[in-house]
């Protein structure tokens, strides 16, 4: 080795610090944008609460010891068939646990969700000791509203509680509907928490499908070029030309009883065009790079070149429309539920809006809370998308923040 002059590495000074990869650098840049970081925290919080929705609001115990066995009836909220047969057919609980547990096995105990409310049905009289059933119609005012007025009254000496809640207070304690109840007496808070599950699921699954279709199509068009590119680009343009909602409604009409999964697939197969066009552009640009030529000369296969060399460099800009796409997928699902094309078995924010449509004057809480939830979630995803764009674009980075 002695005859080869060894160049002194230029990085000697920074020897001890570990090397920063592209993504760790992007994360460092992303963290600088406080608003995007807050949006990310919001989305993560929303995701966690969606995942653990049955532990936040529900009428089925999380854990119960019944007749000497441990059961997890709250799992029924994830999948109906997961409710143990002993509660459904054998002992006929009919979904009402507190009294049944006590009557049929006085020894039993249970851990309950934070809020005893169901996203699907109204609470019945004496279902839980001392708590009245959910009121129906305009009487189901939010408990939060009651607290707000009470605070206002005690601060300014007004008498708004009597004015708004007077007749309800005569019947004894107020029902605990944090965000109020619907026309049929179903709790809004429980629906919102379980609706977050729907929103998250729709956002990620439909954009996952869209990303898979979009990246494959765009990659094939950009990499192979020629008539494949011409053909695929025309397909992209045709799909883009059709208004998304019309296409979704047409596709949903094919299915007899659309479930949330149908809706997600349909949103996915109509929302991939933006991703495909961007991927195509990135591939067109990156396939000219010399390191791609180097990989070809090395004998790398097509798949290796497309995925390990090109897609790896194109991923950052492609993530941006995916983040925006999640926001628009949530909006589309809400719009579909609002129009009455949603999944009837699943609580969703759009469905609440739909129910509030007829009684917007007296039941304002059916519009306000889900509306805010949709607004903030969509805003959060847009902020994340923007943050990603700036964190991964070196030109923006140099501009300095």
């Amino acid at each position: 080795m002695s005859s080869v002059p060894v160049e002194q590495p230029a990085v000697t000074a920074a020897l001890e610090t570990p090397s920063r990869g592209f993504w760790s650098e992007a994360w460092r840049q992303f963290r600088r944008r406080k608003l995007s970081l807050a949006a990310l925290a919001f989305v993560i919080g929303m995701g966690v609460s969606a995942l653990f929705a049955p532990a936040i609001a529900g009428t089925k115990p999380l854990v119960t010891r019944y007749k000497g066995e441990l059961y997890f009836p709250a799992m029924a909220y994830y999948n109906r068939s997961w409710e143990n047969a002993i509660f459904r057919t054998q002992d006929k609980f009919r979904g009402r646990y507190p009294q049944n547990l006590k009557q049929k096995d006085p020894e039993s105990w249970a851990i309950w969700p934070l809020v005893y409310q169901d996203p699907q049905r109204r609470l019945y009289r004496d279902e839980w000791e001392g708590i009245p059933p959910n009121p129906t119609g305009a009487k189901g005012k939010p408990y939060l509203y009651y607290l707000w007025l009470k605070g206002w009254d005690s601060l300014f000496g007004t008498n708004y509680v009597e004015e708004e809640f007077g007749e309800l207070l005569k019947d004894g304690p107020l029902p605990f509907n944090l965000f109020g109840a619907t026309d049929r007496g179903v709790d809004v808070f429980a629906q919102m928490v379980h609706g977050a599950q729907t929103a998250m699921l729709v956002g990620f699954v439909s954009m996952g499908i869209a990303a898979a279709i979009g990246i494959t199509t765009g990659a094939a068009a950009g990499y192979f070029g020629g008539w494949i590119d011409i053909l695929l680009s025309r397909v992209i343009e045709v799909v883009m030309c059709i208004p998304a909602l019309v296409l979704i409604l047409a596709l949903l009409a094919i299915v007899e009883r659309p479930s949330i999964w149908h809706i997600m697939v349909v949103i996915g197969i109509t929302g991939w065009t933006g991703i495909a066009r961007l991927t195509r552009g990135e591939f067109l640009k990156l396939k000219q790079m010399e390191y791609v030529t180097a990989a070809k000369a090395l004998g790398a296969g097509r798949a290796r070149i497309m995925f390990r060399h090109i897609l790896r460099n194109a991923l950052a800009p492609i993530l941006v429309p995916i983040a925006f796409g999640i926001a628009s997928a949530i909006l589309v699902e809400s719009a579909l539920s609002f129009l009455g094309f949603g999944d009837p078995t699943r609580p969703s924010w759009g469905k609440l809006l739909d129910q509030g449509r007829d009684s917007i004057q007296e039941m304002w809480w059916l519009i306000l809370f889900p509306g805010l939830a949709i607004f903030f979630t969509v805003l959060a995803y847009n902020l994340i998308g923007e943050g990603l764009q700036e964190a991964t674009d070196p030109r923006m980075r140099q501009a300095g923040h």
Partner: protein
């Protein structure tokens, strides 16, 4: 795939046999200017009948001005550009026009080092991953051994193996070119095509990389097809030198012979343009000025392509194409006795 399982020694050719040979290689690019059907159609003759061979453990230098087809020749040989006609042999096996899967087994014997060390390394891959990739592609060594092999290669090209997990942007140009050389060496090729490997580097760094390449040749017996436009660099590294002009080789000889007594008028002009780093000798330097620009490669010339600019060219040169001839010192010129 069969050849891959054979032991390395058995794949070696008879001594002295050329590792790489190109016969009458032509690369033409069709083009269209203006509107479809009514515009001008034609072909760019980037490489127009190049014949060369590189022996085992030998360096063939290829020089010429920009646009003379040096790089296109290299790209055609490794199969990045499909040759229009001609034959390419690697270890005696014909490799032009092979499908990419048939070409795959041959790629192990022939690697390439690129001109720009800043764009020829994937910015998202660590140095270790870049050097390991050829081994991954050809399934060489066990997974655990590949890491050791990467460290050995980094050491071999004069890089500290501790920098394995760093990214290319953390290295200087010279270090990056070393990474490029290590990547080419990873599959133990018999010949490396160096496409202007030092043109993008500082002069002081150029010498280091050139010395590294020569050192590696001595140790590993690898052959080089070394493309450059810097005559001094080529003189230093090459055993034999070919001079290209307008897609053709006009002179091909041993480096010493070519630099001592260039025969082709173009080579003479080229060599006379090299500055001498000695002020007294520099003043005495005879400078042969060439008139005009190199002609466009989109036209076909019946005679010698250099004739319009040649100081000694005549009517005969313009009409009849000369052939590359003469035992050890090949020249393509009517005016030179061979």
């Amino acid at each position: 795939m069969q050849t891959m399982t054979e032991p390395r020694a058995e794949r070696r050719n008879k001594p002295g046999a050329p590792v790489l040979e190109a016969r009458n290689l032509k690369v033409h690019f069709p083009f269209r200017r203006g509107l479809p059907f009514v515009g001008k159609y034609g072909v760019i003759r980037a490489v127009d009948g190049v014949s060369l061979h590189v022996n085992e453990g030998e360096t063939l230098g290829l020089v010429g001005e920009s646009g003379c087809g040096k790089s296109t020749t290299a790209r055609a040989i490794v199969g990045l550009t499909a040759p229009t006609s001609g034959e390419i042999y690697l270890n005696g096996a014909r490799i032009d026009g092979l499908s990419s899967s048939a070409m795959f087994t041959h790629r192990r014997d022939m690697q390439m080092v690129f001109q720009n060390p800043f764009s020829s390394l994937n910015p998202r891959m660590t140095v270790g991953a870049i050097i390991r990739e050829p081994m991954d592609i050809f399934h060489l060594h066990s997974r655990r051994d590949r890491r050791l092999e990467v460290m050995r290669l980094m050491d071999l090209v004069g890089l500290n193996p501790r920098y394995m997990n760093r990214y290319p942007h953390e290295f200087s140009g010279g270090q990056r070119q070393r990474i490029g050389v290590a990547r080419a060496l990873a599959v133990e090729p018999k010949i490396i095509l160096c496409d202007e490997p030092v043109s993008a580097l500082d002069v002081s760094i150029q010498a280091q990389v050139i010395n590294l390449l020569m050192d590696l040749q001595q140790k590993l017996g690898v052959a080089y097809l070394f493309i450059a436009h810097d005559l001094a660099v080529v003189r230093h590294i090459a055993h034999r030198v070919g001079v290209m002009y307008l897609g053709r080789i006009v002179e091909l000889a041993d480096a010493d012979a070519l630099y001592a007594s260039p025969k082709h008028p173009y080579t003479q002009a080229l060599l006379s343009a090299v500055p001498v780093p000695n002020p007294q000798r520099e003043e005495q330097r005879q400078y042969v000025a060439l008139a005009g620009e190199p002609p466009s490669p989109d036209r076909q010339y019946p005679g010698c392509p250099f004739a319009p600019r040649c100081p000694i060219g005549d009517e005969h040169c313009r009409e009849v194409a000369p052939q590359l001839a003469g035992g050890q010192h090949l020249v393509s010129c009517h005016k030179v006795e061979t």
